[in-house]
Symmetry: C2
Subunit: 441 residues, 2 copies
Amino acid sequence: MAEDTLYDIVVHNGIVLTVNGEFDVFRKGLVCIADGTLKRVEDRANSEPLPAASQVIDAAGGIIMPGLVNSHTHVPMSLFRGLADDLPLTDWLNDHIFKAETQWLNPESVHVGTLLSCAEMLLSGTTTFCDGYFFEDAVAAAVIESGMRAVLAQGIIDFPAPGVPDPQENVTKAAQFIETWQGKSTLITPGLFCHSPYTCSEETLRKARKVADEKDTLFQIHVAETKGELREIEERHGTTPVQYLDRIGILNERTLLVHAIWVNDADIACMAERYVSISVATESEMKLASGVAPIPEFLENGLSVGIGTDSCASNNNLDMFQEIDTSAKLHKVKRGDPTVMDARQVLTLATRGGAEAIGLGEQVGSLEVGKKADLIIIDTHKPHLTPLYDPVSHLVYAASGSDVRDVIIDGRLTVKDRMVLSFNLEPIIESVQDLARQIAS
Amino acid sequence: MAEDTLYDIVVHNGIVLTVNGEFDVFRKGLVCIADGTLKRVEDRANSEPLPAASQVIDAAGGIIMPGLVNSHTHVPMSLFRGLADDLPLTDWLNDHIFKAETQWLNPESVHVGTLLSCAEMLLSGTTTFCDGYFFEDAVAAAVIESGMRAVLAQGIIDFPAPGVPDPQENVTKAAQFIETWQGKSTLITPGLFCHSPYTCSEETLRKARKVADEKDTLFQIHVAETKGELREIEERHGTTPVQYLDRIGILNERTLLVHAIWVNDADIACMAERYVSISVATESEMKLASGVAPIPEFLENGLSVGIGTDSCASNNNLDMFQEIDTSAKLHKVKRGDPTVMDARQVLTLATRGGAEAIGLGEQVGSLEVGKKADLIIIDTHKPHLTPLYDPVSHLVYAASGSDVRDVIIDGRLTVKDRMVLSFNLEPIIESVQDLARQIAS
């Protein structure tokens, strides 16, 4: 840009972590934004005056980094946060979650549940997420209101589901969702979500794959989540969940396998051959005792991996900082090797890696000129972030979501000094509290 | 107390979690404090006016609970937070931590490092901690300044150590520390800390045990932390670390075994027979890939267990809320059973259990009439704590230290609206930053 350019936003006086391929760090960082895009990301020369901008943001010596990418959510489920815990997965799902979903989900409750989750994600540094649920049109409308970026999908399952009483229509409804939202907003990328290989028939999966291919969208599916699923698929289909999906033509480079815990070497080889991506939700998988997905093995096989929180009914928050901390530590102790999943690698999974896994790698996930202006500022002037030898270490091992001060998405300031600017949070909290009183009683 | 009593502090308008033996919860809770002690802990009757008090604190619908007890720390090591990560334990210790300690520790640096850690602990809801380190007199002075409660011990190791160049004097110096601080402050309970069975000789351990018995203080020791230690002790002494300590008469009911990861059934039976207590530091043990201490098995054998953070050189923060969340989840996934380590049990370990483990069970750890007035107030009016079905679930699975609003210790308000009142934090942060610049260069 010419020297007389007026930027929309200039951010300065902080350590810029680009999380680009070289993992460049600019200790006296400068980021210039115009038209929702990153125009300059660099070290500021000592004598250089600040470039002209409509808005100048002083990072106050903190950390300026890409917004976090949460690669697996069901955002309206914040309505059920803490409704039931410490139970076997099937009891938790059948006796509590499915019942609550059947009774309480509608476009209005999904709308407020989504905005509640968006507030939580914004205030903990997530700028992009990848979701699958029901009444997803209501999710999409709320996401636009929140100013967040998301890959969204209407869920497909072969049972009567909230908003889809006739399962015969599940793929059609999901296809309609894509048609409604494709190209409609720079913030929304529609996709497809089949619940799992044990709740969707081969016919449903094939039909959904065809739609995803025709529309060129991401195909998400929970797979190999529990030992029980592994056994069930082996009994029904004579092979593992991953290889069953491959046999019926589901796996390709626009596929996001969620969980992928109960996988063997042949499964991983198959996943690598098909160039699928994976989303791991460590804390939720630990809490439900599902198992530990072999992230280091996925990475060693060149697979694209994102980190997700899953819903806050099973986690029970959407704080990606806690998620990456726990992910790093879990694999160290599992392998008996403290060098596994180092801070830089884990931070990359939560930003650029996640963006690539959900198909937005060219748009977001790192601070590089030409990418969308999605960034967060971390306030490091706190006892638990003092002293500061290594910003990457702090972000993974010491910080939490509450250290996020400001959030910019698509060039727009959505959080300033920990206040959500994009929508009015207070009535949302009140609505959810009212609804929860009814659910509890 | 008579009806015309003027309390020092009255706290109301919150959910009181007593964490007493019955785990009583008062939804419309009232806590009255006088002379540093809890005088009333109950549900407030509908029509009852607030009791008269010098200070009335409105919990604004949040949670009022016992302050957290961190049962294992080395608080001055906040100076080295993030100095080195993702390394094998021996490289991390020998190449980084021991070197930094030798060069940079002195009473002044220990003083500021301690106050930094105290600020971090206060702001994340810890009111009592159990520490062992060097220059512990400087730690004690800083702890009194901070207004926190602590069991403190001068470390014993058979090498030249910071402040103890001649290891022949290690037990004598530790005994002097006890003499100096015993009975001096209601906040400080002195104890003894032998580093480990592989860094202290049998003679040192026996001498230290004798001092602890004579002074009637807690005897802390790191034990069975790594597989390497297990092998080393087995080679040297022909038995496990725990059984070696038992053989030489170290284990009794005033012993706190720290880590206790590499223990077998016979070790656990021995620990139960001797009524020792245990402190587990889950996150640090995960990060260093030391292993997983069998907390559920300890509890099944009736052992007293506390949760600690270890130092923030290996964790890398002192947030007990994150610690209990991770501890609960780790044992669920390790056992493949989501019912293990439920929220109530884990919260108890971090409060009453920890207090009992470090010998302060009669004073703190629960909100019961007659105990010390150590309590914290959690601000639940936040997206990630909305809605609120079950306060215990939220505290373990959704909250983090930054949700702590107010802290009272020994009847004194030490944190109000997230501001530390007991000392001036800003110069401490600046001093540590200055020191860190020297350490880094």
